[in-house]
Symmetry: C2
Subunit: 433 residues, 2 copies
C-alpha cells in the first residue's frame, strides 16, 4: 500500500459540512425566491476569465490578491474576484440578446488570495442583484425594496439600511473647491462610524483645513439618524450642496415610495455613507443588523453611471446590491437565527433482523410519494446505532415493520403507535408537521 | 477615453444567458428535491485544492487536462476536475464528524482543459450523489431507485438503466486465466454498443484468442436486452462465471426490490456495461434516453470498495452516481422537453404618463405578498416597447393603473378586464394558473 496523503485543504479554503451547507442552501433558496418575485432572472459566467478582462480596472491591491496564472494554452487567466466585473463584461457581450431594463441575480463563488483571518476566506460566495438599463428612481427604489424583502424572507427583520447619494456629496465638495481632494475626503468620511467624529474631524482638517473639516462633519452627521429624520437630513444636505436639484428630488421620490409601501422605518438617510472609492455615482447604501451592527454591512451597493464602459460604447447605467452571504450567515449563527436544520429526512424505516427489505422499500416509496423525505436504514445494526444515526440527522419519525404490522415512533418522545399501513403513517406524519 | 477591451471569454468557456440558466436552475431544483426525499444532504468543497490531493491517483490524460498552477504562496494547486476525488478527501478529513451510512449530493462546477468540441466545455457542472459506509444491496438499490426518481422528477420517464456487476465479470475472467488481461478486455468490451459484436469479437480475439473471444462475446451479449430478460441473463452470467455467489445473489435481491417498488421495467441487465477502467468493484450502471440513445449515458456510476484509500486507513465503501447535467440538458432541448421558461415574472405593471408610481409600487407589493412575481416597468416609454419587453420575458399579465381604476390584460390574447383593486387582480391571476 502506498503512503497515505494527508487530506488537507489550502489555507483560507474550507469544506462545508452538511449542516453548514444545508443552512447556506436554505438561505439561498429563500433569497432566490425573493429575487424572482421582483422579476430578477439568473445568469452565469465562467469562474476563469482573461486577466485583461478582470484586471484592467483594478487597483494594485486587487491585482495582488487575484489567483492569476498562465493556462496550458499560454493564456494569461485569472479566477474572478467578484461578480461585478464579469457582469459588466457579460452585459457588453450580450447587449443585443438581452432586454432592458434587465434584472439579474447571480450567486456564485469568487476567489481572493487575501491574508486569511477570522471570518475571511480565499473562496467565498457573492450574491449580487442588479437592474441595468434604466435611470429611473423607481429602480433605485426597487433595489432598496428588494434588499428589505430578501432579508425579511430569511427572517432578518431588524435592520437599518443607511442610504445616501454620491451626487449630492459631489455638489457639496465642488461648491467648496474640494473636487480634486474628493478621493481623500471620501476615504476619511467612510471611517466616521469606526473612529468617531473627533478623529474624523482632525483627519479632515489635515486634508481641507479646520473650517472646511467642520463643515464636512456637519454635512456627514446630518440632522439625526432615525428614519423620521430623513427629510430634515435631506434638507440639510440640499442646503449645504447648493440647493435643490435632480439628486435631492430623487431622494424625496424614493422616500415617498418607501412610505407608500410601508417600509420607510427600515431606512435612514446617512450622508456619511459613501462606499469609499467605488464607482458609484448616485444613491449608495449599506445594511446593518440592529442586533449586531459591529459586524459591518451585510448588504451594500449603489447606482453607477456606466457599468460596461471598458467593453462597450453604449452607456449602460444601473443600480445594484450585494449580500455578504458568509458574513450574514456568521451573524445569524451568532444571533441564533439559523434554522439549525441538519438534513431533510423526516422519517427513517429502521432495520431489524426480521425486517422485510422489500416491504421497507415499498413503504419508503409510499411516504416519498406523499411528499415525506424518507430513508431505509440499510443494515440490521443494533437499534442503539440506528437511533444515534437518526438523531444526528435530526429525523423526526422512526418506523419499524414487523410481521405485517407497522410501528410509528415519534423519536423525540419515543411515543409509539401501531398503524395499519404506510399510508396511515404518512397521514400521521403530515398531520404532525 | 481609453481603448475598449473586447468582451471575449476563454475558449471552451461560456456564459449562461437568462433562459439557459433558468432551465438549468429549475432542473437542479427538481433533482435536488429528489435527492432530499431520499435523505441526501448537500456538502461543498473548494474549487481549488493541492495538486497532490487531486492528481495522485490520476492517469496522464487527466494530468494534461487539469488547470494547474503555482499560487502566490508558492503552492502547487489545481482546479478540481471532478467531484469524486474531493469527496474522497472530504470523507477522509471529516470521517469523525460524519454519520454513516452517509448520503451526500454535490452539484458544482469542475474544470478540464479538454480540446473544445461540440457539447464539450472546459467548465461544466457535475451532479453527484453517493451513499458511503454501507455494503448493503439496499443502498445499491437506493441509488438505482433515486436515478429513476430524479430523472422522473424532471419529466424524463422513457429511460433504460443498464446494470451489470464488475465482480461477476471478474470471476468470469479469472476462471479463464484472463485476470491479467482484464484492463484490455474491459476497454474493448466497453465498445460493444459503439462498434458492434463483429468488430468487438475480432478485437477480443487479438487479446485473448478466437475461442475465448467468442466466449466473452456470449457473456457480454447476455440472454436478451429487455427488462424481463434480467433473470435469464443473470443465470447465463452466473453459469459462465462459475456458479452462484454473493455477487449474483445481490443482483437477484436488487431485482426483487425493483419489482417490489414497481420500477423494474426501466432496468435491464447488460453484462457489456463495465464502466471501463474506473475503480468500481460491484454493480455498475449507465442510463440512456430511449428517444435519444445515441447521445450516450446521462447518468452513470457504480459501487466502489474503498473510496478514500489514498487518504485514510479505514475502508469506506460506497455506491454513487453522476448525472451529466450539460448532456442531459442538451438532450432535453433536442427532445423539446425543457420548460423553455424565460423568467419568473407573472405580471408587469405598465408605466404610462399618468401612472402614479407610488400606487404602482403598492400594487406590486400586494401581488408579491400573494405569491405573484411582479415588476413595475420603471420608465414611461412607448407602450410598444413595454409590450415587447414583457413578451421577451414571457410575462403573462399586464396591469395598467389609471385614474384610480385597474386594468388587467392577459398579454397572450390582449383580453382586458377592469377590476376594483390589486387584490382582485391577484385573485384573477391565481385563478388563471
Amino acid at each position: 500500500m502506498s503512503e497515505l496523503i494527508q487530506p488537507r485543504i489550502l489555507k483560507g479554503f474550507r469544506d462545508a459540512l452538511p449542516a453548514e451547507e444545508t443552512t447556506r442552501v436554505l438561505l439561498v433558496e429563500k433569497l432566490t425566491a425573493s429575487f424572482r418575485s421582483f422579476g430578477f432572472v439568473p445568469i452565469d459566467t465562467p469562474a476563469l476569465e482573461y486577466s485583461e478582462i478582470l484586471l484592467r480596472k483594478s487597483d494594485g491591491e486587487t491585482e495582488k490578491q487575484v489567483f492569476r496564472f498562465t493556462d496550458n494554452g499560454g493564456r494569461d487567466v485569472a479566477l474572478r474576484f467578484d461578480l461585478t466585473v464579469p457582469f459588466a463584461r457579460f452585459v457588453a457581450a450580450h447587449k443585443d440578446e438581452l432586454y432592458f431594463p434587465f434584472k439579474r441575480y447571480h450567486i456564485a463563488k469568487v476567489w481572493r488570495g487575501e491574508k486569511p483571518q477570522a471570518g475571511r476566506y480565499r473562496e467565498f460566495f457573492q450574491c449580487d442583484f442588479d437592474i441595468v438599463g434604466s435611470d429611473s428612481e423607481a429602480v433605485d427604489f426597487e433595489i432598496l425594496s428588494l434588499m428589505k424583502a430578501s432579508l425579511s424572507a430569511i427572517g432578518v427583520e431588524k435592520i437599518t439600511i443607511k442610504v445616501s447619494h454620491r451626487g449630492i456629496f459631489n455638489r457639496f465638495l465642488s461648491l467648496r473647491g474640494l473636487s480634486d481632494k474628493s478621493e481623500d475626503i471620501l476615504r476619511t468620511v467612510d471611517k466616521l462610524a469606526k473612529i468617531g467624529p473627533d478623529e474624523t474631524a482632525s483627519l479632515l482638517a489635515e486634508i481641507a483645513g479646520k473650517d472646511t473639516a467642520a463643515d464636512i462633519l456637519t454635512y456627514i452627521q446630518g440632522a439625526g439618524n432615525r428614519p423620521e429624520d430623513f427629510e430634515a437630513t435631506l434638507s440639510l444636505m440640499e442646503k449645504m450642496a447648493g440647493g435643490p436639484a435632480e439628486d435631492t428630488e430623487r431622494m424625496r421620490k424614493i422616500r415617498s415610495l418607501m412610505e407608500a409601501v410601508g417600509i420607510e422605518s427600515s431606512f435612514v438617510l446617512d450622508p456619511s455613507i459613501t462606499r469609499g472609492l467605488d464607482y458609484y455615482t448616485g444613491i449608495v447604501y449599506e445594511t446593518f443588523l440592529n442586533d449586531l451592527p459591529e459586524i459591518g454591512s451585510v448588504c451594500s451597493g449603489g447606482r453607477y453611471d456606466n457599468l460596461a464602459a471598458l467593453y462597450a460604447k453604449d452607456r449602460i447605467s444601473g443600480v445594484g446590491s450585494s449580500i455578504g452571504l458568509d458574513r450574514l450567515i456568521a451573524a445569524l449563527e451568532k444571533l441564533g437565527q439559523t434554522s439549525g436544520q441538519a438534513g431533510f429526512t423526516e422519517a427513517v424505516i429502521f432495520n431489524t433482523e426480521s425486517t422485510d427489505m422489500a416491504a421497507a422499500q415499498k413503504a419508503a416509496a409510499t411516504l416519498r410519494a406523499r411528499g415525506i423525505a424518507c430513508e431505509v436504514y440499510p443494515d440490521a445494526k443494533k437499534m442503539g446505532a440506528q437511533y444515534a444515526w437518526a438523531e444526528k440527522k435530526a429525523v423526526s419519525w422512526g418506523i419499524t415493520l414487523a410481521n405485517g404490522s407497522l410501528e410509528l415512533k415519534k423519536l423525540a418522545t419515543r411515543e409509539t403507535e401501531t398503524l395499519a399501513c404506510p399510508n396511515c403513517a404518512a397521514d400521521k406524519i403530515l398531520a404532525g408537521r
